[in-house]
Symmetry: C2
Subunit: 232 residues, 2 copies
């Protein structure tokens, strides 16, 4: 494969959203909630909240705002509607403070020597920038949903990557732990690499070990660097 740039799904593929959100929930809400279950319940509202934008029911709304609206709903559902405003604002920032999977920074650092690296996430730009600065994720450029005001899997998000990087789609490799994201990317002509992240959902979902439709399937970003011939 003659790959010029790699674009990455972020939540679940590069960072552990469940562990990070649970950590912040524990810190900010203490015994009010079961922290991992709270992370799961918040994440369960993620796809439906974006679908309201994708369908046109809501105008373009950055992910931080969707996270805040679904947090407010969740706190009502959990009988915790007395959580104060500053705590809610801090909780939304949990998504800016997610830790990378242990292989992510070393793998990206190797891949970056020969390739342009960009997140192609539904996270808004400020979220992705905060996360990268805190975690040391070595992106060359931040791409993703907010730049085109569409959420994945809308075609506009995938199409913007080769357009802005001035590459043909077949020289852009989409890397994700979710087969649906990769299928949508392939539909727009991008190459695809699947990363197996069995810990993403804490056992609630058992992702496949490989994606037979992807160009590559790997179990870490280090293995992806190996497969693409990046120097150790």
């Amino acid at each position: 494969m003659d790959v010029g740039a790699l674009v990455f799904d972020v939540f679940g593929t590069v960072v552990d959203w469940r562990g990070g959100v649970a950590r912040e929930a524990r810190r900010l809400l203490g015994d009010r909630v079961d922290a991992p279950a709270f992370a799961d319940a918040w994440r369960d509202r993620y796809a439906p909240s974006m679908d309201r934008v994708r369908s046109g029911e809501l105008p373009w709304t950055p992910l931080d705002e969707l996270h805040r609206a679904s947090l407010d709903e969740l706190l009502i559902e959990l009988g915790q509607d007395d959580v104060d405003e500053p705590t809610r604002a801090e909780l939304v920032l949990a998504w800016h403070r997610l830790d990378p999977w242990p292989d992510a920074v070393p793998g990206l650092t190797r891949l970056r020597r020969r390739h342009v690296l960009a997140p192609l996430s539904n996270g808004n730009v400020a979220l992705i920038v905060d996360m990268a600065k805190r975690a040391g994720l070595p992106w060359d450029v931040v791409l993703g949903a907010e730049l085109v005001q569409h959420y994945k899997p809308d075609a506009e998000v995938y199409d913007a990557a080769p357009r802005l990087l001035a590459l043909p789609p077949e020289r852009v490799l989409m890397v994700a732990a979710h087969v649906s994201d990769l299928a949508a990317a392939r539909g727009r002509g991008l190459r695809t690499a699947y990363v197996h992240r069995p810990g993403e959902f804490g056992g609630r979902v058992d992702p496949p070990a490989a994606d037979p439709d992807a160009d590559l399937s790997v179990s870490s970003l280090g293995e992806l660097a190996d497969r693409l011939g990046a120097q150790a």
Copy 2:
């Protein structure tokens, strides 16, 4: 000043376009042209070419394509219309291969510890990414004209910086060597810092030592880091 992010003009402010374009003209065109004069003549077509987009005469056109069109015109004017296609394509890439002013990388590296750093250039994303990888410019995120399909000084370019960084405009500091760029940024509520770059035009233009309307005037990005209290 409580600055969250710094956004930078690039051509002339961070990199020496004249020296870099002249170097590539010398390499690719040899004795066919006077290299510094060639760089000046090409750059002279820069503002008029963007004005054709800004006025609506042309649809959105990335800077690489404007550079190519003005190169073709210039070669005719210089009686060098026999320059072949691969050489023209390489010449356009001269703008991706500009060297930073000597203070730029050390200054940005210091500033980056406490602030989000982004180019806010009329250069297209691929150009800015190529330049940063070659020169080691430590951007956190690439902002600029192509993301909003407007050229500076259109308001849309400046407005996109605080919007995408989720900051109020007064917490974004625009850094540029051109008073007109800073005036447009101030018009959109951004803070401004002027950098004196007396070598930018090779003596054809004598820029002022300071901009009395800017929040700060400095003579290097190292001095900017000093003024903002960045650690040495």
